[in-house]
Symmetry: C2
Subunit: 341 residues, 2 copies
DNA sequence: GGTGTTTTCGAAAACGTTTTCGATTCTTAA
DNA sequence: TTAAGAATCGAAAACGTTTTCGAAAACACC
C-alpha cells in the first residue's frame, strides 16, 4: 500500500530529497556519515525507486520491445529465449508483441512501443509488409531497430539473419553428393523472402551440378501450423512423380508430414526417398527415422540481435555514431537418418 | 528526432497546453471549434502522448508482467500465447521474465516488475520457491498477482490451474479399465506440486481399483529438457521389472523417451507395454505410435489468467472489493495409439 | 582574525502529462 | 442595462525523480 519515496526517507532523516537522491546514487558531495544514514534508512523503509519517474526524468526506460510475426512456437521461442537471456544480462526488460503476420497490426504495435518509449525494438517482419516507412520513422525518432530472420534489405538498420539461399544450396548439394538424382522441393508460400531464398538455393544447386530444374517437382506448402500440408503433398507427389528419390522440405514441419506419410504408405526413408528438413526443431529427433536438417540457430540469433540493439542504444545515448551491422549467422547440416542409406 | 508534445501543438495554435490536453481527451468544456483545430493539428504534427509522463501522472502503466520458471517452450509457449492475445485485446502490454527455476531470481524479478510499476503480474512458481513472502508483499502493495500452473495454495490470490491429481487419477483409471494390470509411473522430481499431485493421482487410482501400490515401480525423471531420462529409465525398468504392461509418464517428453527406447529395443507399444503421457505437446502426434496423453489447456490457461488479472486491476483501481477466484481448467484424455491394442 | 579553499548541503527547475479550480467571456432574460 | 447563468479557457499543482548551481559551513593557512 505504502510505497516509500525519496521524500519519506528525507523527512524521516530531516534532510532534503536532493541529499537523499545523491546519497543513494553515490554522488561525491555527500559526507560519508549522512550517506550511511540514508542508505540504512532506505534499507529499513524498503525504498525502491519509482521507475516511471526515473524514466521520465532520464528519458530512458531500460526496456526493449520485440515484435514477432507468428505465434511463439518452435523457432521463435528459441529466438525469444536468446533475447531474454541477453536482455537480463544487460539489465533490460522486454515487452513482446505478436503481429500475426498482419502489416497493419505490426505498424500499430511498433507505434505503441515507441509511444511507450522503449529504448529500442527488435523485429521480424510479417509476411504482408512491403512498406517499411513505419520502421524508418522509428529510426528517425532515434529509436533503434534491429531486424532479425525476416528482414527487409531496403531498410537501413542492423540485421541478423541466416543465409537461406546458401543453406538451401548446401542442403541440396549434400543430397546430390550423396547420389540422389531426382530431388523434389516442397517450398513455402510465394511471399516471404525465406521461402523464396530457399527455393532459389534449391534451384541453383541443381543447376550448378548439371541437373535440370523441373518446376513440376516443386510443391507449395503454405500452412505452417501443422504437418498436414507435407503429408498431403507427399501423397500427391508419389502418384505424380513416383520416381523421385529425395525431397528437400522448406521446414522440419513439412518434412515430418512427408515422413509420416511415407511411414504409413510403406515407402522406405531414405532407401526409396530421402527427406531433408530445415530448422532443426526439437521434433526432428523424435520422428523415426530421425530427420536430416539444417540447424538454424534461433537462440544465438536472439542473443546477437539483442546484443547489437543494446549496443546501439548506448551509442545513441552517448551521441556516438551508430554503425549498422549485418551479421549472418552460420547454419550447418545436421546429418541424421533420413538421408543416409 | 523531434517528438511533438502538447506544448508544441499548444504554441502552434496559440492556446494553452491545458486546452490541448482537454480537447484531445474529450473534455466537455472545450468548444467544438477549438477541439477540431486541436485534433487536426495533433494529426498533422503526428502527436503521440508520452506514455511515461502519462504513467507518472495517472499512476498506471497498462502493462502486466509475466514470470515463468522455465524456458519458453512447449507448454509455456502456449500459455504465453494465451496471455498475449488477451492482453492485446484488453489494451495491455506484457513484459516477460524467466526465473530459470531459481527462487532468488524469481524474487528479484518480481521486485523489478513492481518497481517498474506494472499494473499486475502473472506468475508460475519456480521449483525452488517455498517462501511466498515476496508474493504477499506485492499483493500488499496493491499489485495484484495471479498464479497459474505452478502455484502455492497458501498465498491468498487468484489462481488458475488444472487438477493434476485428478488428471493423473483419470489417466491411470483409464489404463486399468483397458485391462492393464502392472502399471509403472515415471514421476518428476520431488519438489514441484505438479509432480507430487500426479504421483498421488497415480497411487490413488491404483488403490481405488484394488491394485496394490508398489514403490519399486516408480522411477524419477527430473530432467525436463530432453527425453534421455525417459529413454534410460525405460531401459532400466525393462530389466528390473520386465513384466510391466503400462507406464504412466509425468510428461510427454519422458513418454517419448520411453517409446523411443521401446522402438529401438523391439518392445511393442502398446502390445507389450502401453505408454501414457501428459500435456499433449505437439510432438506427441509425431512419435510413432502416437501418444495417448492428457490435454493440458495451456492457451486457455494463459487466457483466463490474464483475464482475471486485468479484472482485478480494474477492481483495485476503482476501489471495489477484489474477489479472488480459483479456476480449475478441465483436462481430458486424448486417446491415441500408444494405449489401444 | 581575515582570506582562500574544500566539504557538504538544498532550492529549484525540469521531464510531459492530467486535473482542479478559478477567471473570463458570452448569452440570455428581466 | 444589468445580473445571472452558461460556455470556454488557462494557471498551477501534482506525479517522483535527477541534476545544476549556488550557498553555507568547515577547514587551512598566514
Amino acid at each position: 500500500m505504502n510505497n516509500t519515496k525519496l521524500i519519506d526517507i528525507a523527512s524521516a532523516l530531516g534532510i532534503s530529497v536532493t541529499t537523499v537522491s545523491k546519497a543513494l546514487k553515490g554522488y561525491t558531495d555527500i559526507s560519508k556519515s549522512t550517506r550511511a544514514k540514508v542508505i540504512e534508512m532506505a534499507e529499513t523503509m524498503n525504498y525502491m525507486p519509482n521507475s516511471v519517474a526515473v524514466n521520465l526524468r532520464t528519458n530512458e526506460t531500460k526496456t526493449i520491445g520485440v515484435i514477432i510475426p507468428a505465434t511463439v512456437h518452435h523457432f521463435f521461442s528459441s529466438v525469444l529465449n536468446g533475447i531474454l537471456e541477453e536482455a537480463e544480462k544487460r539489465g533490460y526488460l522486454v515487452i513482446i508483441l505478436q503481429s500475426n503476420e498482419k502489416y497493419e497490426l505490426e505498424k500499430k504495435q511498433l507505434a505503441l512501443l515507441i509511444q511507450k518509449r522503449v529504448d529500442g525494438v527488435l523485429m521480424s517482419l510479417s509476411n504482408e509488409t512491403d512498406d517499411f516507412s513505419h520502421i524508418n520513422d522509428a529510426i528517425k525518432k532515434n529509436t533503434p531497430v534491429v531486424l532479425f530472420d525476416k528482414i527487409a534489405k531496403r531498410v537501413d538498420c542492423s540485421k541478423v539473419i541466416i543465409n537461406d539461399a546458401k543453406a538451401a544450396y548446401d542442403a541440396v548439394t549434400y543430397l546430390i553428393n550423396k547420389g540422389y538424382k531426382k530431388i523434389a522441393h516442397f517450398r513455402g508460400s510465394y511471399v516471404p523472402q525465406n521461402s523464396i531464398d530457399r527455393f532459389l538455393g534449391y534451384k541453383r544447386a541443381l543447376e550448378a551440378h548439371g541437373i535440370e530444374y523441373d518446376s513440376k517437382l516443386v510443391y507449395v506448402c503454405d500452412n505452417n501450423t501443422d504437418f498436414e500440408d507435407g503429408y498431403e503433398n507427399a501423397q500427391k507427389i508419389m502418384t505424380e512423380h513416383p520416381d523421385i528419390d529425395a525431397i528437400f522440405a522448406i521446414t522440419d514441419l513439412v518434412a515430418i508430414g512427408i515422413i509420416k506419410y511415407f511411414n504409413e504408405a510403406g515407402i522406405k526413408t531414405p532407401q526409396q526417398v530421402a527427406v531433408f528438413g530445415f530448422s532443426n526443431w526439437f521434433m526432428s529427433t523424435v520422428i523415426s527415422p530421425k530427420l536430416t536438417t539444417i540447424d538454424q540457430p534461433g537462440f544465438e540469433m536472439g542473443h546477437t540481435a539483442a546484443s547489437i540493439l543494446i549496443d546501439e542504444i548506448a551509442e545513441i545515448k552517448e551521441h556516438r555514431a551508430v554503425t549498422h551491422q549485418i551479421v549472418e549467422l552460420p547454419t550447418r547440416i545436421i546429418e541424421r537418418e533420413s538421408t543416409v542409406k
